[in-house]
């Protein structure tokens, strides 16, 4: 066990895991976080606290994650290279663990042009892969990148992102491998609306045995309408919504919201069948209230209680643990 987080325990015990993304508030009020958390909290094993996603400013990732932990939820803090250099990042990695947040998702981050401060200086001192390796050095070698020793290492479960749905397609599985070699213990993917593409990607991943070295959670989410789906595809970098999905939403007319929910449930069920996948990551932007229903209808509720759950540990544990820096 690298971190002992609830998410890590659920995954290592062999359960199909569920994480969900929380909309970070434009507010300095803790209830703004906790009200949202209450809606999705019991339906998932851990809640993702985003880091100015889409390069748009919100309450800080670390603060949101700390508030979630205080309220008893497990949290995955997202850490993007866009806004901080290596000095700040390493400080954050220690601070995150000190606040009892045990899962970190290491990201490169969207370009600043997509957000509300396009005139800002993009930092990108590191990239997601060097950040992952840096976090592993802190945890496993008990030192900073500079070589200066730590008195106590951050016990963290390290995550990376993957987007199997954009080019260069044949490089994507190899890039995943690189992330695992850099230090990723788990992976959360971009939104999946294209199951055949995911299947192809996972075939390569399983061939290379990568699913035994890291837990892979696939991103899903309900689309509210054809218009929203189209907007996302055009404006959110890396989101691919096939025409067939948009047509289905259009065909549903006024009932597109229900149709979007149904599509999401079907996707989850199909994803669950694909070998090598360990869970789903739900991103229900502004439709958080649908998350419990979706997961219930997909047969993923109630979530296992990590204190009492049984089940044999996943065979991957030893392989992962023997891989030290």
């Amino acid at each position: 066990m690298k971190s002992g987080s609830r998410l890590e325990r659920v995954l290592r015990s062999g359960h199909f895991a569920v994480t969900a993304e929380l909309l970070s508030p434009d507010s300095a009020d803790p209830p703004a976080v906790l009200d949202h958390a209450r809606v999705i909290g019991d339906s998932c094993d851990a809640i993702n606290a985003t880091d100015a996603s889409g390069a748009t400013t919100h309450m800080s990732n670390v603060a949101v994650a700390a508030l979630l932990r205080r309220a008893g939820y497990d949290a995955v803090v997202q850490l993007a290279c866009r806004d901080r250099n290596r000095i700040a990042m390493q400080g954050d990695l220690l601070g995150i663990a000190a606040l009892d947040v045990r899962n970190v998702l290491c990201l490169t981050g969207d370009g600043v042009a997509t957000g509300d401060h396009p005139e800002a200086k993009p930092v990108f001192d590191m990239d997601s892969i060097t950040l992952l390796r840096t976090a592993r050095i802190l945890r496993d070698k008990v030192q900073f990148l500079s070589g200066r020793p730590l008195t106590s290492p951050p016990r963290l479960f390290l995550g990376g992102a993957s987007n199997p749905f954009v080019p260069p397609f044949d490089f994507r599985p190899l890039r995943l491998k690189k992330k695992i070699e850099a230090g990723a213990d788990f992976i959360q993917t971009q939104y999946c609306f294209d199951v055949p593409r995911l299947r192809k990607f996972m075939e390569r991943v399983v061939d290379m045995g990568l699913h035994e070295r890291a837990f892979i959670l696939v991103g899903v989410g309900p689309l509210r309408s054809a218009r929203v789906a189209y907007w996302m595809r055009e404006n959110i970098p890396g989101v691919v919504v096939p025409d067939s999905v948009i047509r289905r939403l259009l065909g549903a007319g006024k009932r597109s919201r229900t149709e979007g929910k149904r599509i999401c449930i079907e996707l989850i069920q199909q994803i669950e069948e694909i070998p090598g996948i360990s869970g789903v990551h739900v991103m229900a932007y502004r439709q958080e209230h649908l998350v419990p229903e979706i997961l219930d209808e997909a047969g993923l509720l109630p979530r296992p209680n990590p204190v009492t759950f049984k089940g044999s540990p996943a065979p991957s544990v030893d392989i992962v643990d023997s891989r030290q820096c």
Binding site: D110, Q143, L145, N163, P168, P237
Partner: protein
């Protein structure tokens, strides 16, 4: 630009890279990173590599690991592979009219018999102190520590 097209002949560039390194090694004793040679090498490198690779003079050159495609021309300066924002047509998330640097890097690396597999190596973060110095000199100077101490395996 005609010279830019050389990038699509990564095999030739690979050979040029090996030859340059070998030639420079002969003069190793005279190529001191602190010395006046920097004054000659920096503009020389800026012009030649600028023309061929749109080189940004990071001084910490990894071209042979990145399909002979300069990773510093990626708007996010990514050195370890493409971000998740690449457009379906293979263009960049941030500069829609530009081919993603990593789409090109990946294709070219596949044509490089000698260093092609270098694209799978986990590269260290860039040493920002080396910006605007000569990577030719840095490459053959053992005292230029290009990697953070903690990075060493």
């Amino acid at each position: 630009m005609a010279l830019r097209r050389l990038q699509d002949r990564p095999r030739i560039l690979e050979i040029a890279y090996v030859a340059t390194l070998a030639a420079l090694r002969l003069f190793r004793n005279r190529l001191n990173p602190e010395g006046v040679v920097q004054k000659v090498f920096v503009p020389g490198e800026r012009v030649t590599k600028g023309l061929i690779f749109d080189c940004k003079m990071c001084g910490d050159c990894v071209l042979h690991n990145t399909g002979m495609t300069c990773p510093m021309t990626c708007p996010k300066n990514l050195r370890n592979g493409p971000c998740g924002g690449v457009r379906l047509n293979g263009n960049c998330e941030i500069v829609p009219d530009m081919q993603c640097v990593w789409v090109a890097a990946w294709e070219r690396s596949q044509k490089m018999p000698r260093f092609g597999s270098g694209i799978h190596e986990v590269l260290a973060p860039t040493d920002r102190r080396l910006e605007n110095t000569s990577s030719w000199i840095n490459d053959i100077s053992p005292d230029v520590t290009k990697r953070p101490i903690g990075w060493a395996e």
